[in-house]
Symmetry: C2
Subunit: 328 residues, 2 copies
DNA sequence: CTGAAAGCGCTAACAA
DNA sequence: TTGTTAGCGCTTTCAG
């Protein structure tokens, strides 16, 4: 910037003001200075600027992976979400700092916040970090979380109504005449737990006999989905449907079922959750509960920018939607 | 940092050195200072640090979308690649700054470089920006590009041998007894152009009559894939196979064919390119040319860090691999 | 309208 | 082993 000032024959302050579009500088001067800057490939150094302004024009997108560490960042759910977030953030002229935290250590969130690399944070998924989020949110406002609304929650969350989604999926299977519906998913995660509660409510409401052997909700990762469904098939438990807590799990289940000579949906119907791009292309195409990730990203970023302006938004809950395909 | 120094009863420099792990500081002092920092939730400000050190511990991942602007960042190819890159970069203790450039304006790359936000750059895809990459690479070394190796190329590229891939796909279709093979893809993009050249070579080599009506290689975006294949079907040209330049295009083609009562692969065989996660789950599962994106990400980052150390690596070419499924 | 100067939080000579 | 001090490149009072 000093160079530009010298070339333009003005002071550094004038260059700074001109390039920042200050109204103090006459158009002619500004043009002249901008032209010199352009010709010399000069771009304001955002670090120095950020240091001075304490603003970075950067939004942090962080993906905490707790005890589900093996769920890669490459999981289609994260990636679809990330794509939409990127579009929304870029649209507003901010940069994106992407972090994957695996596994989260105590104080990780405070470290991210204190480092002041970003003006705001969007956390994709609560993982098992609800406590950390609660405590960080007490004195850090520009943060939004994709996930479940939990009792006593102090942070801003955007998410689908998971309980309703679980209920919807299960009711649909009952409508299809199924009575022995298995659940597959890790209920340690808040969102999955709520889906599970919806499943239980539907089971109760429609008078299904609750069989704990059908309820595979602990020690679960996407990778073990195939094994879990195989175990179900081999165990000989009566089972005519599976509600999987995600499309990835559903896909694994379908493959395991086919592998053991069970036809989908004739022998066992399968319903997933997410409606990620793979859902429409499985064989058979997967009935699932849709989460509109584009809308989700929009809501997350809208909430975040409201908060950047000092409005403490409470977050949003989206309605889940049953998408019926051929797996049920 | 001044606060911590005061609390510890030492100077700022001592704190700085202690926290940076300088060997000048005795362990006892370091422990004491670290403890105070931790207790007060103090984290070194990476901006100030970067300003001083002219290093950011950040790698920029940029996705230029040229005339194929409509190809969203949400395209599975980008997202899978991004996931693997994120893993590799995080592993090395660097942060990731994600940028989508759509559309690239003259000088965009210089701006990104001059802003000095990142220590190095990985560019995902050449798009139509070969010239820009060449000229930027003349005085900026820590940059690697995913894409084709082009004649007279001065920048470091990692990519699959696209020509060989195109040849492989086409030969496979010939092996399956097909003689009227259409090409679907935008040959404006260097990588696609090379795939097209492989296609042409195979056509020549196996004595297929070249029919320009089967050669849909201009004005192409993923979204128009369905229309293009419909046009092919409706035109009544004799066609018993399609080589699509990407899995997304292949998927669109399959849907269009089915929609018009053509069976895949009986009436028309289809081969894609990428082997993205959807490929295994289309109906029928898609025969395709695999690009190992995990390996690709590894190679890209290895090249980048070599270059960060001053070794001007030339890049790598990966062998494509034919993955035979049921669409051919 | 423009410039001089202070300072954002940090690191690294240089001095002690 | 530790402290003093001079910047890194920018913005912004404050004083012309």
């Amino acid at each position: 910037m000093a160079d530009i000032a010298r070339m333009a024959g003005v002071s550094i302050s004038t260059v700074s003001r001109a390039l920042a579009g200050s109204p103090l500088i006459p158009d002619a001067t500004r043009e002249m200075i901008s032209e010199i800057a352009r010709a010399n490939g000069y771009v304001v150094n955002p670090f120095a600027r950020g240091l001075r302004l304490k603003r970075t024009q950067t939004i942090g997108v962080v993906i905490p992976l707790g005890h589900e560490t093996r769920q890669l960042i490459s999981d289609p759910f994260f990636l679809e979400m990330l794509g939409h977030l990127a579009d929304e953030i870029t649209l507003r002229g901010y940069e994106i700092l992407l972090s994957k935290i695996a596994p989260p250590k105590p104080g990780w969130l405070e470290t991210v916040i204190q480092s002041q690399r970003t003006d705001g944070l969007v956390i994709i998924g609560q993982s098992d970090q609800h406590e950390a989020l609660v405590s960080a949110s007490e004195n850090y406002e520009p943060m939004v979380v994709w996930g479940a609304h939990l009792p006593g929650q102090t942070y801003c969350a955007v998410g689908v109504d998971n309980e309703a989604g679980g209920y919807l999926a299960t009711r649909h299977l009952v409508d299809r005449g199924r009575r022995h519906i298995a659940f597959l998913g890790d209920a340690e995660l808040p969102e999955i737990k709520q889906r599970h509660q919806g499943y239980l409510r539907a089971c109760r409401e429609f008078g299904l006999n609750y069989d704990p052997r059908l309820d595979a909700r602990s020690e679960f990762t996407a990778e073990t989905a195939a094994q879990a469904s195989e175990r179900l098939v081999m165990s000989g438990v009566e089972m005519d449907a599976i509600f999987a807590a995600s499309d990835v799990i559903a896909l694994a289940a379908i493959n395991a079922l086919k592998h053991h000579g069970k036809s989908v949906p004739d022998d066992v119907a399968v319903v997933g959750f997410d409606d990620s791009t793979i859902a429409a292309h499985t064989n058979p195409p997967l009935t699932t509960i849709r989460q509109d990730l584009q809308k989700a990203a929009k809501l997350l970023i809208e909430n975040l920018f409201q908060r950047l302006d000092g409005n403490l938004t409470p977050g949003d809950t989206m309605a889940p939607e049953l998408v019926i395909r051929q797996s049920s």
